[in-house]
């Protein structure tokens, strides 16, 4: 659209024709008050707060529906306008309860702010306000009717935004009211209820305290909390969630999660897990003291010193006795922890028996794209890509932000969405084309898609995608190995195609990037290949691939595994491992709860969760983000610290494990030509630090010390520190250079999708009271799928 020039309060402004006046003003720093207007949602012109005076227009006009025009002359703050707004507020306050002191929205209420600005505090009505009892609509949503000012934001957010349509307007005139989709006449307790995705977006957009969340209402006041923006631990989308934290006697308690800081890559969005799924952290079931299994089989709580000394001693004995050892990492570790864990295994335990619960085939993805630049789609691409092909996956349930971005992109930009799936997933409602295929038929389907030899529906999609100028291909975890490679190869034949593979959990992608794999080093460099790590990782490093997760447990079962070190993972339940398997293996577990795996351990080291640590994580798309310590729990330690301490207790040289402090040897001249890895490593790192203007980190527990090394050694992780530190996400291409990659054909497919729903989150989810409550409520059928 061509730009037009117009005048607002004497200021000359220009904006593309068709821009809404309210947006144009906002862009120029002129705030026009509004209750019903919400960017991206349909227009209402209902609240009349945005009225402005436009020359040659008889009545006051609503800035939320007026589009800027050439030569338009606008006044946004005149006595007339102020009076109009004041009167509107007086009308609202006539019925609005003035219980602000106890209202959740108190201090962050748009009605409060407006009243403050236009001074309509004195309510001149003598009639009593019509009071209504607060209603509980769902395990997460409460509705306080008298507080509602009928801006209809919630209704539109639920319908247009979430495609759930669980909220509506009922009655008319002064009895008009927001109503949930299950009428009182159809519930046992005779009260209306919600059947929805429980995303809490309605609460988020409510300008007042009419919609409040069960987790937060009447618990505390906004200003009594610390607000820390960090990354949600649950799915692979990587939403920023702002945690409100309050100090308690044994550390601090997370009071709420929300999206008040809209700076994350999730913009406006946050799903129920990011909003309510933090409560596991406050759980009284948390393990907060180290435990050792006694000869009688019982656990006994011990001091940290005792636990660490014992663990270090036993691991060292087992390693030095030449017995096999292995490590298994989790998908919710930071990159630094994942990296450090595999380095610990490879340089201290001296084993490649390393794995994690693989939720998507990132190795094949990296291999298939090796040597290609800029082929990894960012989460941001979903916001504006003109065309998206989704093969497999169910973002609505497994990657809610991805689903939100796709819906919004289709709604606001008419993006074209093409879907190939074995289920009639909900996103088909936004899809231009949808092809349903056989559950086990992805390989065949991809082949057919590539050759245009499928059924009508599939061929239509082949046609359509070939016609696109550029395309984002989102790939579900159903596609692995050959099928995945075939799809990517097909994609590469199209112009400007980018790819993303949707895994589960906050750092599944990072875990793979960081080399928590038996055959791949960080950055997907095959252990047996030639790479820096040989010199970097010292004499214990060996270049034969280790046992994968299944192999590790087979070895344990066969009595060939001396020690197993499990960090924040629950393979015993995930892969349903028999108890007996670990009978003869010394098992160390970092855990928060008595999981099936922890129950079989010899040592349990109580650890922190993602909300209690700092570091970085990489989402399904390869967007790297900083996590920030929000809360903490007395007694627990981060996995990073524990690995370092255990290594220390084993007598390892910590300076080799974590590059920190100034090397006594100082910076050598003969840059790394000296034999001996330590020296070489020291030199390289020191040189790299100086060349990147970075200071050596002073503590071995400083995640940034490890990040330094990641950035130095892991292909694709060449990140910008400032970007990261300013809390912005940045997009990486964690595929090794082509020459480094060659995948052993015999590689077995160990991908085991989490298949989480909106209300489950692996083992962790089971320890979240709210998620459990929701999972039970919606046990029957998936949430909020309207008839269509």
């Amino acid at each position: 659209m061509p730009d037009v020039t117009f005048t607002v309060d004497g200021q000359q402004l220009t904006a593309p024709a068709g821009t809404l006046l309210i947006d144009a003003c906002k862009a120029a720093g002129i705030q026009i008050p509004a209750f019903c207007y919400y960017p991206g949602l349909s227009l209402q012109a209902a609240c009349r707060m945005c009225v402005v005076r436009i020359e040659k227009v008889p009545k006051l006009a609503t800035a939320c529906t007026t589009t800027v025009a050439e030569g338009m002359v606008v006044a946004t703050e005149t006595p007339e306008i102020a009076q109009a707004r004041k009167a509107t507020l007086q009308l609202l306050l006539g019925n609005h309860p003035l219980d602000c002191p106890v209202c959740d929205a108190g201090g962050q209420c748009e009605l409060q702010d407006m009243t403050f600005k236009y001074g309509a505090a004195e309510s001149f009505y003598t009639e009593p306000k019509n009071h209504r009892e607060e209603q509980k609509w769902s395990p997460t949503v409460y509705f306080d009717r008298p507080r509602c000012i009928l801006c209809y934001r919630c209704v539109r957010m639920c319908g247009e935004g979430m495609d759930v349509y669980a909220l509506g307007i009922q009655n008319r005139g002064s009895s008009a009211v927001i109503a949930p989709n299950i009428p009182a006449s159809q519930t046992e307790d005779g009260l209306a209820k919600l059947d929805c995705e429980e995303c809490g977006m309605c609460i988020d957009v409510c300008p007042v305290g009419a919609l409040t969340s069960d987790t937060y209402r009447y618990k505390t006041r906004p200003w009594e909390m610390n607000h820390v923006a960090t990354i949600c631990t649950h799915c692979g989308d990587g939403c920023k969630t702002t945690l409100g934290v309050r100090s308690t006697t044994d550390g601090s308690e997370i009071m709420r999660g929300d999206n008040r800081d809209k700076s994350g890559l999730n913009g406006d969005f946050l799903c129920n897990k990011g909003r309510y799924g933090f409560d596991f952290a406050n759980s009284p079931q948390r393990i907060t003291e180290p435990m050792l299994r006694q000869p009688n089989g019982e656990f006994k709580t011990v001091t940290w010193d005792e636990a660490l000394a014992f663990t270090g001693k036993r691991l060292r004995e087992i390693r030095d006795a030449g017995k096999q050892t292995a490590v298994i990492g989790g998908n919710r570790l930071t990159n630094e922890e994942a990296y450090l864990l595999q380095k610990f295994a490879r340089t201290v335990l001296g084993t490649n028996n390393i794995d994690h619960h693989r939720t998507a085939d990132y190795v094949t993805l990296a291999a298939a794209l090796a040597g290609h630049r800029d082929r990894f789609a960012s989460q941001h691409d979903n916001e504006n890509a003109p065309a998206i092909l989704l093969v497999g996956g169910d973002p609505t349930n497994e990657a809610p932000l991805t689903a939100w971005n796709l819906r919004t992109n289709v709604r606001l930009n008419n993006a074209k969405l093409f879907i190939v799936n074995h289920r009639a997933i909900k996103l088909r409602r936004q899809a231009k084309n949808f092809a349903q295929i056989d559950e086990l038929g992805y390989g065949a389907a991809v082949e057919a898609l590539a050759n245009g030899t499928g059924d009508a529906a599939l061929n239509a999609i082949t046609e359509a995608v070939k016609a696109q100028q550029s395309l984002v291909i989102l790939i579900g975890d159903e596609l692995r190995g050959e099928a995945l490679k075939r799809l990517i190869d097909f994609g590469l034949t199209l112009p400007n195609t980018k790819f993303a593979l949707l895994g589960d959990y906050v750092n599944a992608h990072g875990a793979a990037d960081m080399g928590l794999l038996p055959d791949m080093l960080p950055g997907y460099q095959p252990v047996q290949g030639h790479h820096d790590f040989a010199n970097e990782y010292g004499e214990r490093f060996n270049s034969t691939p280790g046992l994968d997760l299944v192999g590790i447990f087979d070895a344990a079962n066969a009595g060939n595994l001396g020690a197993l070190y499990i960090v924040n993972a629950n393979p015993v339940s995930r892969y349903s491992i028999e108890e007996s398997y670990l009978a003869n293996t010394f098992t160390v577990v970092h855990e928060m709860f008595f999981t099936e795996t922890a129950k079989l351990a010899d040592v349990i080291l109580p650890c922190a969760n993602l909300y209690e640590k700092s570091g970085s994580v990489t989402n399904s798309y390869g967007d790297l983000q900083l996590v920030q310590k929000a809360s903490d729990r007395a007694g627990v330690r981060t996995d990073l610290e524990l690995i370092v301490r255990v290594a220390d207790a084993m007598g390892a040289n910590i300076r080799e494990l974590v590059p920190f402090g100034k090397k006594s040897s100082g910076l050598r001249a003969d840059l790394g030509q000296t034999r001996g890895a330590q020296a070489g490593e020291a030199d390289r790192h020191a040189v790299w630090l100086t060349s990147n203007n970075l200071e050596p980190k002073l503590s071995p527990f400083d995640p940034f010390a490890v990040l330094d090394e990641i950035q130095r050694l892991v292909p694709g992780y060449d990140l910008l520190r400032l970007q990261l530190l300013s809390g912005n996400d940045q997009h990486l291409s964690p595929a090794a250079p082509a020459d480094l990659i060659q995948i052993a054909p015999a590689r077995r497919d160990l991908v085991l999708p989490a298949d989480d729903t909106l209300f489950t989150s692996g083992t962790l989810g089971r320890y979240s009271p709210k998620l459990t409550e929701l999972a039970d409520k919606y046990a029957v059928e998936p949430a909020g799928i309207p008839a269509d």
Binding site: A46, R48, P58, L150, N171, G173, S174
Partner: protein
């Protein structure tokens, strides 16, 4: 069955066929029914629109917008189908003129709808009647069926190749706001009767997103007569820039209430004292609400004025829907104001804050005032509320509630003040203590 009235001053154009059984299609044909539409088919849309413009016909729904001009706004070409929508929601208190048209001359509405369709190039028309008018809906439904049977509706109407027109009748279900044109379209699309944001206007984006002409039933029923007698001739019947005649419903405290067809510009005082036989029982006139309950009240000394859109405008009120309500000296204005606002409070769709809350607070305040618990501040509050609703609401219903209220306060402030002193001599009408609350 509504009694038909008559008076020598009447000029019967629209009401020509009333009382002659013209609801029967053969009778209607006898009375040169369906001639106008055939003439229109021959002469083409240009001609129709020009005749309509020449006729000076202005919308009978209340706003008084020139009909010919409205029709000419519809784009000639459009990807989306165009529609004609007949507004028979007739709900403005004091108004019952469309009622008699549907009852006595339903085919005139049908023929007018077809004419409008030909004029704008629409192939489909809707006739929407308020839900309460079920017996009238049945009459119109039968008339439509008969027209189809005769080949006047459907494909190749009147045997003319390629000339198609369909009419669907629709029932409302109780909502004054649905009379507002864009709310009417929402209702016809099966939604809540909440008006639409304008622009775009119906002529460009209307029903189902297609260009739409929406007219009041009386406006539409006038079209055939105009084409038969010619626009010029029709215009001459009325006053300057207010062509033709109009049905005026005179109700309230008069000797001969009824629906009379008078030339535009006819004197209001004569209409009351001669046509309607004057104030009932020879009592003194206190006030007149000239065009439906939303029009500011007139004092006896203000009624020597011509009944057309412009003269009424000059008199500080409106011609509105042509429903003239007469109040005699025994009426308490406080009570009348309360009953008026009670209606608008009940009918506000609730979409926008100033109307939803404003009508509610006006009703609450007036109710308390009426029940004797008022105070001097209330009078100012009522005025303040009304003034702050004027021109600030999403659709004109807010104004429709504010305008009469302001009129009552301005012209009868004294009576409000007296009322406070408990000196109310007038007879109380409202005997129920609980007034109808808002819907549900």
């Amino acid at each position: 069955m509504p009694v038909l009235v008559s008076h020598p001053d009447e000029v019967k154009v629209l009401s020509r066929r009333f009382g002659q059984g013209a609801a029967d299609i053969d009778k209607y044909l006898e009375l040169d029914g369906y001639k106008a539409v055939q003439k229109a088919i021959e002469s083409g849309s240009e001609w129709v629109i020009n005749e309509m413009k020449a006729s000076g016909l202005r919308g009978r729904g209340g706003a008084g917008f020139p009909t010919g001009m409205k029709w000419s706004f519809v784009p000639k070409v459009s990807e989306k189908p165009k529609y004609v929508l007949v507004n028979g929601d007739e709900s403005e208190p004091g108004t019952c003129k469309d009622h008699v048209i549907f009852l006595h001359d339903p085919h005139a509405v049908i023929e007018g709808t077809m004419i409008a369709g030909l004029a704008i190039g629409a192939k489909m028309g809707f006739i929407y009647l308020r839900g309460e008018y079920r017996y009238l809906l049945k009459i119109v439904e039968k008339a439509v069926a008969d027209a189809y049977a005769k080949g006047f509706l459907g494909k190749n109407i009147f045997g003319k190749e390629g000339v198609d027109f369909d009419i669907v009748t629709q029932s409302g279900a109780g909502a004054y706001e649905v009379g507002e044109e864009s709310a009417l379209m929402e209702s016809l699309e099966g939604k809540r009767g909440v008006p639409r944001i304008k622009p775009p206007f119906p002529a460009v984006v209307g029903l189902y997103g297609g260009p739409t002409v929406i007219n009041n039933a009386e406006t539409i029923a006038s079209a055939p007569h105009i084409l038969l007698m010619g626009g010029e001739a029709y215009a001459k019947l009325g006053s300057e820039r207010n062509g033709g005649t109009r049905l005026f419903g005179i109700s309230g405290m008069v000797e001969r209430p009824g629906v009379y067809e008078l030339p535009m510009g006819y004197n209001l005082k004569k209409a009351i004292y001669e046509v309607a036989g004057g104030v009932k029982g020879g009592r003194k006139l206190k006030a007149v609400v000239p065009g439906g309950s939303s029009c500011p009240v007139l004092l006896p000394e203000e009624i020597d004025v011509g009944l057309d859109f412009d003269q009424m405008g000059k008199a500080g009120t409106m011609l509105g829907s042509g429903g003239i309500v007469v109040l005699d000296e025994t009426v308490s204005i406080v009570e009348f104001a309360l009953r008026t606002i009670k209606f608008y409070q009940h009918e506000s769709c609730g979409w926008c804050i100033p109307c939803r809350e404003g009508t509610d607070w006006l009703k609450k305040t007036l109710t308390r005032f009426y029940n004797g618990a008022g105070n001097a501040k209330d009078i100012n509050n009522i005025q303040y509320l009304a003034e702050n609703m004027m021109g600030r609401t999403f659709c004109p219903l807010g104004d429709a509630a504010a305008m009469p209220t302001l009129g009552f306060i301005k012209k009868f402030r004294g009576e409000f003040e007296e009322y406070l002193k408990g000196q109310r001599t007038e007879k109380a009408f409202i005997t129920t203590d609980e007034l109808i609350g808002a819907a549900h």
